[in-house]
């Protein structure tokens, strides 16, 4: 993020911090989720909802900023297809063509943190922050105030992917974040668009693309998972769609989802050795 943006963000942070009534309840939620109390989500959602109603004023103000009057269909368009707003097609396409690394994490370079990703284009075109930036900032601001926000490793706009706001979190925080995103009235990400997993050789990532029907907004979440001890909390009880997807990720990528109701191989046979989508996978053949 550019300095300018950081400043912007800081401002926002300070502004909203005052209004943010992060009650002790939230802390409790945090600890509860850390203990992987699976049966909690309903209660949690209720609490989160209550909390949301307290902050309704500030939320609606922010909404005013992040939600232009344009119909939602245009907001969520793939870039280049419908481009009738101020950002002309030419500029945007050029953007993606010439600065590809702007896109996101360079997968092959583990040393480079994902953070610098969004930097370059913003530096060169400081006047054009992504139209999704306010929406992302809103999250970041809110999430930063939550306890355990140190787990939020990064938040950036994936410009190559139609300005997709993306969060990067550590695996410990994923379940809590998922509950927050699913249930908080300002998020309401009820819909899992895509549930994927990637092997970056240094670490694994669970990549989830969420969609919020009330706000017609997309959000990408990347959960960093340790490669040797690939464990992450299951979110199958939060999104029913995650159930089979987690089984698939377990089967093919070897990520163990703790608390999953039925974690078995789904595509391959139960006797299969190894997880094929890992980059170091070697087919096991008894005959050889």
């Amino acid at each position: 993020m550019s300095d300018q943006e950081k400043e912007q963000e800081k401002e926002l942070t300070t502004e909203t911090k005052a209004a943010n009534v992060m009650s002790e309840e939230t802390v409790e939620i945090k600890s509860a989720s850390k203990e992987q109390d699976v049966q909690k989500p309903d209660a949690l959602s209720q609490e989160l909802k209550d909390e949301g109603s307290v902050k309704n004023e500030s939320a609606s103000e922010e909404q005013g900023i992040q939600k232009p009057d344009a119909p939602p269909s245009q907001e969520v368009t793939d870039e280049g297809s419908v481009k009738n707003d101020s950002v002309s097609t030419g500029v945007d396409v050029e953007n993606t063509v010439t600065k590809p690394q702007a896109a996101s994490v360079p997968p092959k370079k583990p040393a480079a943190t994902p953070r610098p990703a969004a930097k370059k284009p913003v530096e060169e075109k400081p006047l054009e922050p992504s139209r999704k930036q306010p929406w992302l900032d809103k999250f970041v601001v809110k999430l930063k105030d939550l306890e355990g926000s140190e787990y939020l490793e990064d938040a950036f706009i994936n410009r190559a992917n139609s300005d997709l706001p993306t969060l990067v979190v550590k695996s410990e925080w994923w379940r809590y974040l998922a509950l927050y995103l699913r249930n908080h009235p300002d998020c309401q990400f009820h819909y899992v668009q895509n549930f994927s997993s990637v092997d970056y050789e240094t670490h694994l990532e669970v990549v989830v693309h969420l969609f919020s029907f009330p706000y017609k907004e997309r959000l990408g979440v990347r959960v960093k998972v340790d490669r040797t001890e690939a464990k992450v909390d299951s979110v199958a009880d939060i999104w029913a769609a995650a159930n089979w997807n987690e089984r698939e990720a377990y089967d093919l990528m070897g990520i163990t989802f703790e608390g999953h109701p039925d974690l078995r191989r789904i595509m391959l046979t139960d006797q299969w050795v190894g997880h094929p989508l890992r980059k170091d996978y070697v087919p096991y053949d008894e005959g050889v």
Binding site: P72, S73, V76, T77, D78, E79, G80, S81, V82, V93, E94, N95, T96, V97, P100, Q101, A102, A103, S104, V105, P106, P107, K108, N158, A160, N161, S162, L164, H190, Y191, V192, Q193, N194, F195, S196, S197, V198, D199, V207, H209, F213, K216, G220, W239, A240, A241, N243, W244, E248, L252, R265, I266, M267, L268, T269, P276, L277
Partner: protein, 365 residues
């Protein structure tokens, strides 16, 4: 009270109405289903793993084999994602040809559904009527790209073949014919009392359930959510054309039938509009010889006949994807099945499973 014993019934992977190689392990009490455990993976070919060793152009034929009933949309999903990551410009004619083929493919796919669904319910004739009309579409595709099911038609940057002489004319004739033919289908099926009895009030789920299970396509729209990626995340040139998103009211299988029939009509409408504006021109944009996709991560979904067909590409700047993941709508849609089947009887199992409209090639990836 009579003590009854539960019986474990193994339905599939070889069974006439599991639409391929789906296996359902069912606990039944008499004919009442107590529990269902779908077992999948019999058609898993590891497309995602294979794709990691293939160049982007080489991946395209593999996508044909995912949802083999609407291969055009699959082609498009991966081609579209690659183009977006590379920021390529696609010539207009290519986009129009893509839209025509995709929409025709949607019509063909829904026809297969209507036919096989009625076959599941025990009616034989509609199956053949549907397949006859579908045959016309397949013949059109055959003329266009030399294949009837696995087209391998689209390329990064455009399409492989231009429409042969008179092809567009034939498409137009078909559209006009099919629009009339739809009325015949309604005469034949929509009013049939047994059909109505078999489908009305069957397999209902709520909007919340649908969203939680991330259902998409007609399975989601049937609960009253007007969600169609062609309009809401407008890709290709769909925004230029007028079409409606039919939604359901009650969410039962009968609604799904009507909805898919309407979708056929809407697709025909789109094809007709495209035929009105398509002009001569190049069919391939400027594409480098070796497709090197810049580093980055990209997810995009397109509206396949079965729902949101997504393509998640992680590229490391080489000519092969680091990771390619398909969001396969049938896979997501099938998940809700155990929930829907509890307490139903076996005849309803067939009606509900058929209503979901799964293609096993896609479920298993």
């Amino acid at each position: 009270m009579l003590r009854t014993e539960e019986m474990l019934l193994n339905m599939g992977p070889q069974h006439p109405s599991t639409h391929g190689v789906l296996r359902l392990v069912i606990k039944i009490d008499g004919e009442i289903i107590r529990e269902v455990d779908p077992v999948i993976g019999y058609l898993h070919r590891g497309t995602e793993k294979l794709a990691e060793d293939l160049t982007y152009t080489q991946i395209i034929p593999y996508t044909d084999r995912l949802d083999y009933v609407s291969a055009m949309t699959n082609n498009y999903a991966v081609v579209h994602a690659t183009e977006k990551l590379m920021g390529l410009e696609i010539p207009e004619r290519a986009e129009y040809l893509r839209m025509i083929t995709m929409e025709l493919n949607r019509v063909a796919s829904h026809l297969v559904w209507v036919g096989t669904y009625l076959l599941d319910l025990g009616a034989m004739s509609p199956f053949l009527y549907c397949f006859q009309d579908r045959e016309t579409i397949l013949n059109l595709f055959n003329e266009l790209c030399g294949a009837r099911l696995t087209y391998n038609y689209m390329r990064v940057g455009g399409v492989k073949w231009d429409a042969p002489d008179g092809w567009l004319q034939k498409v137009e004739e078909f559209v006009l014919y099919m629009q009339k033919e739809l009325a015949t289908y309604h005469d034949l099926i929509s009013g049939n009392d047994i059909f109505l009895q078999r489908t009305r009030g069957i397999g209902i789920y709520t909007k919340e359930q649908a969203l939680s299970y991330a259902l998409s396509g007609s399975n989601l729209r049937v609960t009253g959510v007007p969600w169609d990626l062609r309009q809401h995340q407008s890709y290709s040139l769909y925004h230029q054309f007028q079409f409606e998103i039919p939604i359901g009211e009650k969410g039962d299988v009968l609604d799904k039938y009507h909805l898919r029939m309407q979708e056929i009509a809407e697709s025909l409408k789109i094809v007709k509009q495209v035929l009105g504006v398509i002009k001569e021109g190049p069919i391939m944009g400027k594409v480098p010889k070796v497709l090197r996709v810049p580093e980055g991560e990209f997810y995009t979904g397109v509206e396949s006949p079965r729902g949101e067909l997504g393509c998640h590409i992680v590229s490391n700047g080489k000519n092969k994807p680091w990771r390619l993941k398909f969001r396969r709508p049938s896979f997501y849609n099938l998940q809700i099945l155990p929930d829907l089947l509890k307490g139903e009887n076996i005849s309803n199992l067939v009606a509900i499973l058929g209503g979901i409209d799964i293609i096993l090639g896609e479920v298993d990836g």
